[in-house]
Amino acid sequence: MDIIILNNIYHVIDAISYGLYAFLVGGLLLGFHRKIIARIQGRPGPPIIQYLIHTFKYYLKEISIPITAGNPLYIFMALMGIMVWLTALYLGVVFKTSLLILIGLYVLQKIVEHGCGLSSGSPYGKLGGVRSVFSAAAEVPLFAAVGIIYILTQSLIIKDIISYQLLNGPIIFKLPFAAFAFFILLISKAPNSPFGIVKDKSIVSGYITEHFGILESLILISDAIAWFVLLWLFIAVFIGPIVILNPLLTLIGMVILTFIISIICALTPLLTPNHSVMLQILITALVIIDLLHKSATI
């Protein structure tokens, strides 16, 4: 009996340390992202650990719940961000289960954005939330990409996809369209991206306008974990076991990917909501045509 409990405690500590690792790595990468954008724009930029400093600073700030907020949704949404991405971390990185579950969890991130925006009752938050609903088009290429991957590997379990790549080499060369769709997703999740209409500065801070203090700190934590998980997923699904089986190489791969994405983010303007959505729909159409072509040939 005691052994089971000790074992369980061991697993809990294991899980929490995984989460902490993902948060630290993700936070540092996001700080790095900010630094590179600053350097490209000719500014010195904040130190790389700025993201983590922000998180800790907000964690110790006082909050007060706005009178317009709808509770407990207002608080629960900030918690849900971490829940979603910790679940994605465990199911994806630790247990390597189905890719479809991870896509479902990614989709829940939209619910978090929307819920944060609408539950506060602030007009800026509402605009951010409605824009987040608009940009749901970013997920559709993902589903098509999942279909293409399934046609190629006959499995959506990440473990199977990795072992497929062990035999046949990286998928990125076989499915460039699917990889491109996934890469667009990474870009649209990055801060200051051309698709970042949700956090456009013209609507203050978008959906996190009314989530300040500790609630903002929670959202920053979830964003850092999300960045880690998404980069890991891209590397695992498209580049494969050469990089993913060695933690150090994985870290280097993540840094390189963040570098590429930062350069793209720094050099592109922010699109208007309609244009951002329509561009994503064009990409969707491209990937769906690829999917139909692939499934017709098999």
């Binding site: 989460g19 006082e62 909050i63 719940i65 971490i82 829940m83 679940t87 465990y90």
Partner: protein
Amino acid sequence: MTPEKKSGIISLIIGIIGFACIIFYSNNVLLIYLGTALFTPFMIYGIGMMVNPKTKRSEEGRIPFRGW
């Protein structure tokens, strides 16, 4: 008690009960991991509310330094 403090205490209670459940009544590793994912944010929020600084507002529901 302010509603903020109350929400912190409630989430701390939920977190502690949840962790106790997954530690004492679970024998599946996947379930423990998912339970950790579910209850860790409650713990983070609850602890954060406990270390939250004392309010600078003169009265509940009023924003400091701005009158009104």
